[in-house]
């Protein structure tokens, strides 16, 4: 929370007053990462209630708020004036690799974390043009670069108790004094020698720093770890595979579906011992409900070998967990894909909101999945209330809401030594890690989606010791419909899109920002940064940035009382690797198959590393 009282607070109050409605939010939670306390504005959809303080003057958590709405109460920039946006500051981070996260704004300072070597740059917003205050250089172990699967990305920092806290690719978490840039503590989460890396943005709630690992490609065992915010000491750790004790499953564990009930399923749903390398990494976003102390997150795909060698459901890979943040104990779990054959990580964001569902107030969890299904769940019980397709999907026809199981098409299940064509979506999913945004004013969830399918082909020699490792023989290519990316404005109450914007050339792989000005911001992989009308999808403004966008835009009020919007331009990541000249675009199987989907990218944009700030 900013200690400064300045004109920007006044402007917010004016904006709120103009909206003429009352705050229906609960009292502020016992969170150390509270957003600035700006209440939801008027014009909120009837029956809809946000559950945690929303982002306003500042942007202090990775998603703006702990419920992961990525919605800001700021309304200075609106449909009438967004066309006047222009660059007010730029800064190169000096690392032209994939920039996947977003900055934070705390007080009058902006904080930017670069891709590996994971430098933290503090920017003084009181000075014109984005001037650097200091740079903290953690100097992580360079071996992490040889271990990370999909570019050397970092998805951003968190702020709590005067510290900027973030993860290093080499398996560490650091806390840095937000004023001085001095390192306060450094904790070891993963062992890079075993293939463990960290790319996710931590969440800090109730004095606990929540960090999960990456590295499913190397057979690591997924886990979520809670650290003490003051010391970095471990409070608890919850594995994604193994015995109930390791998974932190106890008497309070009440999964909704029978398929997720039973003792030690994290062991018995695997061939003997395979859970030890079972994947289920936790590299995405974490949400928090301050009323119940529950956190929500999803796990990645099951680890090692193709599905033929790991018969069983492979729990708890590709599973949504609800846990008590105080103890780490699981409240419920829902495995979205049993026995995965497609690499459908479900680490995507879980957006928490209370709203009327079929006439009754419910506590909802919204999960736009990699599988192509839009899950609406009761976050108290783990019941799936709806699972509707938001992109072309053929691996399953639907979800059986009575059992919680997908109704699969067996002909689209990949098998080694067999060619399986036309699987939709591809392994990169109908949506990737790039997070959606929810506007309480429209009741729409703005989903950055992909329309990409794949062929799976068994190839011979991709795994001989002592020879270079090829990886999977997966070829990805655009699905039918004449588009590759799509911004889907999903009408949660009605279970269908209200409108959408089709992007012809590339998947949408950057996050979305929604504001009380009824403007939605998003970026494209070829570098267009766009503002559209939150209610109609009509284009209001766009500008071409120096590199493709796979980052999450944020908004804040500067020390001058004016609203700004910031985003990184720096294409890369798994889907964007074709811009790096060491990948052959002639080979559709390169970069684990993604080149086929994005081979054209280098004709449109180049690698980059620029922070852009826009103002009126």
């Amino acid at each position: 929370m900013s200690p400064r009282i300045s004109t920007r607070s006044i402007s917010i109050l004016i904006a709120l007053a103009a909206c003429g409605s009352h705050d229906r939010s609960p009292p502020p939670p016992p969170s150390t990462t509270g957003a600035p306390g700006a209440p939801p504005t008027g014009g909120t959809v009837p029956g809809l209630r946000t559950i945690a303080p929303l982002a306003g003057n500042t942007w202090e958590t990775p998603a703006g708020d702990v419920a992961n709405t990525r919605y800001s109460t700021l309304a200075q920039i609106d449909a009438t004036n967004v066309g006047k946006l222009h660059i007010t500051g730029t800064l190169t981070t000096g690392v032209p690799r994939g920039h996947e996260g977003g900055p934070l704004v705390v007080g009058s300072t902006m904080y930017v974390v670069t891709p590996f070597p994971d430098n933290l740059i503090a920017i003084d917003l009181t000075k014109p043009g984005a001037q650097v205050k200091w740079v903290y250089r953690p100097r992580p172990d360079a071996r992490a670069m040889g271990v990370a699967c999909c570019d050397v990305v970092n998805r951003g920092p968190a702020y709590a108790r005067g510290k900027i806290i973030y993860n290093l690719l080499d398996g560490h978490t650091v806390a840095v004094d937000a004023e001085t840039g001095a390192e306060k503590w450094r904790a070891t989460i993963g062992n890079v020698n075993l293939g463990e890396t960290i790319t996710m943005a931590p969440l800090v709630v109730e004095d606990r720093v929540l960090v999960g690992n990456s590295g499913g490609e190397l057979g690591v065992r997924g886990k979520l770890v809670a650290l003490d915010v003051e010391t970095g000491a471990e409070k608890w750790r919850a594995y994604s595979t193994g015995p109930d004790e390791d998974v932190r499953i106890g008497a309070d564990f009440k999964p909704f579906y029978a398929k997720d009930r039973g003792k030690d399923l994290g062991v018995s749903t695997w061939p003997p011992g395979q859970w030890k390398q079972g994947g289920g990494t936790v590299w995405g976003w974490i949400s928090y409900d301050p009323e119940t102390h529950l956190i929500y997150y999803g796990t990645g795909n099951p680890g090692v070998w193709n599905p033929d060698l790991r018969p069983g459901d492979n729990k708890w890979a590709i599973t949504l967990f609800a846990r008590d943040v105080r103890t780490g104990m699981a409240r419920w779990a829902y495995q979205i894909v049993p026995h995965d054959a497609w690499d459908y990580d479900e680490i995507m964001e879980n957006v928490l909101v209370d709203m009327d569902w079929h006439g009754k107030p419910r506590k909802l969890l919204l999960h736009p999945g990699r599988t192509g299904f839009m899950f609406v769940m009761d976050r108290e019980t783990g019941e799936v209330l709806a699972a509707d397709k938001f992109q072309p999907v053929n691996w399953a026809s639907a979800y059986d809401l009575a059992t919680g199981k997908p109704i699969e098409d067996p002909s689209k299940r990949s098998r080694d030594g067999v060619v399986t064509r036309g699987i939709c979506p591809s392994s990169t999913g109908a949506k990737e890690f790039a997070p959606s945004a929810l506007s309480p004013r429209t009741g729409l969830l703005y989903i950055p989606a992909h329309n990409v399918c794949m062929d799976y082909e068994g190839i011979e020699a991709n795994y001989i010791e002592g020879t270079p490792y090829l990886g999977a023989s997966v070829k990805m290519y655009p699905g039918t419909g004449g588009y590759v990316g799509e911004l889907v404005a999903w009408d949660v109450a009605h279970g269908k899109p209200a409108w959408s914007i089709k992007e012809p050339t590339f998947p949408l792989n950057g996050g979305v920002l929604a504001t009380a000005g009824d403007v939605v911001f998003y970026g494209t992989m070829d570098g267009w940064f766009k503002a559209v009308d939150a209610r109609t999808g009509g284009e209001l403004w766009k500008t071409k940035l120096g590199s493709g966008i796979i980052a999450n835009p944020i908004t804040y009020v500067g020390p001058d009382g004016k609203q700004y919007v910031a985003v990184y331009a720096g294409v890369g990541g798994w889907l964007g690797t074709s811009v790096f000249d060491d990948i052959s675009t002639d080979d559709p199987y390169a970069a684990l198959g993604t080149v086929g989907a994005t081979a054209e990218l280098s004709k449109y944009t180049e690698a980059g590393d620029v922070l852009y700030i826009f103002g009126l």
């Binding site: 070998w305 080694d416 010791e465």
Partner: protein, 279 residues
């Protein structure tokens, strides 16, 4: 060499002076310095290569370089996904000593050996298993290298799953703990310790690790079933960038000429070989 630090300094100075002096050979035209042969290799992956240059690929690199009148300079990188991207294709080095013949990401020479997947067991167990349909496999714990989450399996392990034996398999990390020496050999050590009854491993690793094991181990090539779509044996070549035909031709010619010398090196490391075609 052992010397005090001050004595070493003197020695270093003398060596530098000698090298500088060598730049101007007496009585002849100045000789252009020959660029080193830049080899991409894993610094911790015996029997193939390591930073101490104790692997068979290190030995072969020295032989090739010597024949070309050059010194070897290494670019070290772990043999994982991205190896070629970060080394050969990044222009940081020019030659990879071991790639599958016909490998897509490089221009490959003629193959210089062919090996196969093998069974490894303790000699005192007298298992003598050489076929995947051996009924005793249903009772055994079979160690195998487990890969990451991208569908790939070691071919004989995949074949075992088709025989319904996937529950007999015990996975060992293909990449291992990179802080330990030669991480892939943990699979063979597990056989020696009796942690598993049998291992399925790639021949070069198995042959070398078995030769250095604490107890006698038996290495047996796995019979390739007639109905098995995946091959078990592979020809191994050297690789260069696709736009370097001159280097490729030079290395290719050396391989054609120096078969016996190559065989000597492979024998020294107990690398099992099998006959077969070029792929």
């Amino acid at each position: 060499m052992s010397c005090t630090s001050s004595a070493c300094s003197v020695l270093v100075v003398a060596l530098v002076a000698a090298l500088v002096a060598c730049g101007q050979p007496a009585g002849g035209a100045p000789v252009a310095p020959v660029a080193p042969l830049r080899v991409c290799a894993d610094p911790n992956n015996l029997p193939f290569s390591n930073r101490a240059r104790a692997g068979f690929e290190n030995a072969l690199a020295e032989l090739v370089a010597h024949a070309l009148g050059r010194e070897v300079a290494y670019t070290w990188f772990p043999q994982r996904r991205g190896f070629i991207k970060n080394t050969l294709k990044a222009g940081k080095c020019d030659l990879v000593i071991g790639v599958p013949a016909g490998y897509e990401l490089a221009a490959t020479t003629r193959p210089y050996y062919r090996s196969t997947y093998v069974f490894v067991s303790r000699a005192d167990r007298r298992l003598d298993i050489h076929a995947l349909d051996d009924p005793r496999l249903r009772e055994l714990r079979i160690g195998v290298h487990a890969l990451g989450d991208d569908y790939a399996n070691v071919p004989p392990a995949q074949a075992l799953s088709r025989h319904g034996l996937e529950r007999q398999l015990v996975g060992y990390s293909f990449f291992g703990d990179y802080a330990q020496p030669d991480p892939p050999r943990a699979l063979i050590d597990a056989v020696a310790r009796g942690e598993v009854d049998l291992a399925i491993a790639w021949g070069p690793l198995a042959g070398w690790a078995a030769a250095h094991a604490a107890v006698p181990l038996v290495v047996t090539p796995i019979d390739h079933p007639a109905d098995e779509p995946l091959p078990f044996s592979f020809a191994i070549a050297m690789g260069v960038r696709k736009d370097e035909p001159v280097l490729r031709a030079a290395v290719d010619a050396w391989i054609a000429r120096r078969g016996p010398a190559i065989a000597d090196v492979l024998d020294r490391f107990a690398i099992p070989r099998v006959p077969g075609g070029r792929r």
